[in-house]
């Protein structure tokens, strides 16, 4: 909405779904037209019916109302019914969070409904319709980096949707590891036998597609810009060219774990101790001619000294190779020594096939392999150390290492620091301490405990210690971002993404990873993954060209606006942005790249002078909503507790609590926030000054198994709130008045319990002494 336009809010109260029976809607109407000075207020028995929607549409059409405040169900439902072509709709959640979770006709329930209405009206007075940030020309070309199974599939699928594709491959030919494999694991029913390797057909399909420009011997030396407007410098054998790119798919794949580190498993002691990849080469060349072959699973995997994770495909690969050996020679024997055999999905059928073919599976841990190929393993099912003698080949099933860096080029300056800083879940603060402890520098630990996470001081502290890079090589894309050249990775080197909900999205908008660089996977999974990533890349460039956000706030046009007049250039917004959306200009002022932004508001929560705001979500808006609620005095015996609930998981969980009729304390005043990362400490002090007795922040799980939809938001909130306690103490307030809870979307029963328990706790502590001042 234009600033000059006069706000004409209208309140619409629904009486359906039990609202009419639970609370006095007439009293609410009185409140709206009386204290809240709303000109237009209407009631309806079923507001979401055609007739009810018509009531609102009519007011909008004749110009009496240009902001509809709907007191009915949660904003999470009926958004398609209450959609009036761009007219702002504000929802007061009278159903799930009032009448469905609190006793009907109760005084407290009525007060809660009234406060929801007050908050809705306060929100309407501060929100305005966002304008679009989309300007200029947007490229629709997709760049695929890596020409293996995943990259080839991505290129093929992107071309099939009508996009131009540039496929950049580091080596001199396409196909990647797949060209070195004899057969592949079954990917078609009945999932029983090793299948022919069809990589050549895929290569041919890509090479003959005119929309795909294949560039071998090519690496990306520089990437600037944002989704829809990436300027990518490609270097083909040293000759550079710049291409305009809409979105990027990174499919740089994997490399086998370095088997020379596996001396204890006999690698190097005998030419007949080989890795799975080496055996593939032999199988491709012809019959192996061995009579007794043992496969050692988890060779250097799930081992804290080597790869700590499971590569998931090695079991299937060994089964495939064992089958190939016994099928080629009925007298040959294959033994698979496993600790835990992992055969996900249809691989279970494949496992059965191998059993039927007589491959012998033994459960145990291998303790050593000697030069005579005697494998000693501890059989867990027999409880005995058993030597396997008379083998003529030992195969080490080594794991997959992600190519999240290009090991053929030199490390970028500051690349190591970025990789360390961005590794989830370790914060720069933790890293600095870990590194100092490792270096035996006790004083440094003390010094580095001071700077808060994400602050410039912490980052600089890390830079000072000159830590060795966790992964060798240079950046894949060499991003020219404030936050460094690499795609952020997890501790094991795989690309960081919200694993469950948004697996392809990296923490750099418009750049998607697929294939084994994202997680270990086989050829058919890579192909599927590539298809998914390409679809996300296409969505991303479409959204960018329309000025819309990508996940999870798809369609959101708002973006943070920086009030540079009072900006102190503290750089907290540029450092804490989980997506690297904010760069710095030469005067160190923040510059937003709108199409990189995911609208989480972490910058808004970070800004110490509160000068970062969205059109429809601002520090002032939430402060006003907090202030709008009526605070009963201490003699009423009714405390008030502010709940700032993340709209991604906590708010739906609270709605679910209502749907499941889990009753909880009626003293809660719940305000949805975009992410806990957007919570500014000002809201907490406002609440306590206004006389709220407690504040609860409810967000997603942080840490290594984070569920935060904005990756870092809830972790950052935890850090910020850990500092609030001291402030409270200085105000002579109890630290327990402010808590952070991590909930998941399925926790409907738990959230109700958490709220009631916190309410009891606050009653125990006593009322806020600032009440009434």
């Amino acid at each position: 909405m234009n600033e000059q336009m006069v706000r004409k809010p209208g309140v619409y109260l629904c009486k359906g779904c039990g609202i009419g029976e639970g609370v006095s809607v007439d009293a609410l109407e009185q409140l709206a037209t009386g204290d809240l000075k709303i000109q237009t207020c209407r009631q309806h028995d079923t507001l979401c019916s055609d007739e009810g929607v018509q009531v609102i549409a009519k007011d909008i059409a004749d110009g009496t109302v240009n902001q509809a405040i709907i007191g009915a169900c949660s904003s999470r439902v009926m958004s398609d019914r209450f959609n009036f072509n761009g007219t702002q709709v504000i929802r007061a959640n009278l159903r799930e969070q009032v009448v469905w979770s609190h006793p009907a006709g109760d005084e407290d329930t009525q007060m809660l409904a009234a406060d929801h209405l007050r908050m809705g009206v306060a929100q309407a007075s501060k929100t305005s319709a966002p304008g679009t940030a989309a300007e200029g020309d947007f490229s629709r070309t997709i760049l695929v980096v890596g020409g293996g199974t995943a990259g080839l599939t991505a290129a093929k699928e992107a071309a099939a949707t009508g996009h131009d594709v540039i496929l950049a491959e580091r080596s001199d030919k396409l196909g990647g590891w797949a060209t070195k494999f004899s057969k592949r694991m079954p990917h078609l029913p009945p999932y029983r036998d090793p299948q022919d390797n069809d990589i050549d057909a895929l290569i041919a399909a890509v090479e003959t597609t005119s929309a795909i420009t294949v560039m071998t011997d090519t690496i990306v030396t520089r990437t600037e810009g944002s989704p829809g407007k990436f300027a990518v410098t490609l270097s083909k054998g040293g000759t550079e060219q710049v291409e305009m790119i809409g979105a990027i798919v990174v499919a740089t794949g994997w490399r086998p774990y370095d088997a020379t580190k596996l001396g204890h498993l006999g690698y190097g002691a005998s030419p007949d101790v080989v890795t799975g990849v080496e055996l593939e080469a032999k199988l491709k060349a012809g019959p192996v001619g061995k009579k007794a072959v043992a496969f050692i699973q988890c060779a250097g995997s799930r081992d804290p000294d080597h790869l700590p994770y499971c590569s998931s495909v090695c079991c299937g690969v060994s089964i495939k190779q064992a089958l190939q050996i016994v099928e080629a020679d009925p007298d040959a024997m294959a033994y698979i020594i496993f600790d835990e055999l992992r055969t996900p999905g249809t691989a279970e059928e494949f496992y059965r096939q191998a059993q039927e073919a007589g491959v012998i599976f033994m459960k145990g841990k291998v303790s050593g392999v000697d030069a005579n190929l005697c494998v000693t393993y501890n059989d867990e099912l027999l409880g005995d150390d058993i030597p396997l003698e008379g083998l003529d080949m030992v195969v080490l099933a080594t794991g997959m290492v992600p190519n999240s860096t290009n090991i053929e080029i030199d490390a970028a300056p500051s690349g190591a620091d970025q990789l360390l800083n961005d590794i989830n879940p370790l914060s720069p603060f933790d890293r600095a301490i870990t590194a100092s402890v490792a270096a035996g520098d006790a004083d440094a630990v003390e010094v580095k405990k001071a700077p808060p996470t994400g602050s410039v001081a912490a980052v600089e502290a890390v830079e000072d210690t000159a830590i060795e890079a966790p992964f060798p090589g240079g950046p894949i894309l060499n991003l020219q971002y404030r936050q460094g050249p690499h795609l952020p990775v997890l501790a094991d080197g795989f690309a960081d993404s919200h694993y469950i909900c948004f697996p392809y999205e990296t923490r750099r908008t418009g750049i998607y990873t697929c294939g084994p660089v994202r997680r270990p996977m086989d050829m058919s999974e890579s192909a599927e993954d590539a298809t998914g990533a390409v679809l996300k890349a296409i969505q991303s460039l479409n959204n960018a060209s329309e000025g819309q956000s990508v996940h999870p706030r798809v369609g959101d046009l708002s973006f943070p606006k920086f009030g540079l007049d009072i900006c102190t250039k503290c750089r907290r917004c540029t450092v804490e942005c989980p997506f690297g959306a904010i760069d710095e200009d030469k005067n160190n002022f923040p510059i937003l790249n709108p199409s990189r932004c995911r609208r989480c508001g972490t910058c808004m929560g970070a800004c110490p002078v509160r000068t970062i705001n969205f059109d429809n979500y601002s520090v002032q808006m939430v402060s006003d909503m907090i202030g709008a609620c009526e605070i009963p005095d201490e003699f009423s015996g009714k405390p008030r507790i502010l709940v700032l609930a993340c709209e991604n998981d906590a708010y739906p969980a609270l709605d679910m609590a209502g749907i499941n009729r889990h009753e909880y304390s009626p003293y809660m005043r719940i305000i949805p926030v975009r992410c806990l990362g957007s919570v500014t400490t000002l809201w907490i002090s406002t609440a306590l000054e206004k006389g709220y007795d407690g504040v609860m922040l409810m967000g997603c799980k942080s840490g290594d198994d984070y569920q935060c939809h904005f990756v870092k938001g809830s972790g950052i909130a935890q850090e910020r709130m850990s500092k609030v306690g001291e402030t409270l103490k200085s105000l002579m307030l109890e630290e327990e008045r402010v808590v952070v809870e991590e909930v998941s979307i399925a926790d409907s029963k738990r959230v109700a319990e958490l709220l009631t328990r916190f309410s009891d706790k606050i009653t125990e502590i006593g009322f806020n002494p600032f009440k009434g001042f």
């Binding site: 007794a292 024997m333 033994y335 059965r352 059993q355 039927e356 073919a357 007589g358 491959v359 012998i360 599976f361 033994m362 459960k363 059989d379 099912l381 027999l382 005995d384 058993i386 030597p387 396997l388 003698e389 008379g390 083998l391």
Partner: protein, 209 residues
Amino acid sequence: MPDSSSSVMPLPDNGNKYDLNFARWVYKNVNGGDKLSMCMQCGMCSGSCPIGTEMDHGPRKLFMMIRAGMKDAVLSSNTMYNCTSCYRCVVRCPRGVPVTYILQDLGRVAVQAGYAEAKKTDNARFAKAFNWSTRAFGRTDERLFTLKYYLSFGIVTAIKKAMANMPIALGLLKTKRMHFGAPHRIKGTKDLRAILDKARAIEKSKQGF
């Protein structure tokens, strides 16, 4: 039954506690052994076995010992002879392993390979007496077969065991489950013996003992 097309495979013997070839030999030469490769070590067989407590090793462990190549330990265990063929394990096995058949045939292998001589094990004495009665009359005659079994321990033990079982024998007589007089016979005892001889000859030619 073992694959009749395969040639005679001698029982592997490398002289060690563990022999890699034993598992494959069992897979190929023991009745039901081809299904043994499907075993996933869930332990349903051992858990279901009503007399598993009497066995040196339950079927689950015995099968793992086969895979590990513990030939001597497998063939000298008493597991096979304690099986009562109740078939509970066969019914319950999620992988369709015919546990009972495998145990029975492993018992035969153990006897033929000399691991279970009648002098050494109780079960083998019993089996031998049972076999004698069947061969002689085409039926099991409770009196003579029991007597034969008891006598294999020596005359003193035989009398002691017989006296201890007197009340059972009287009960059986009373309810006409046992009779005096000559043992019941089938009509063609001679033919039966010819059949049994032939079966043994075939078995021998195939197993190479």
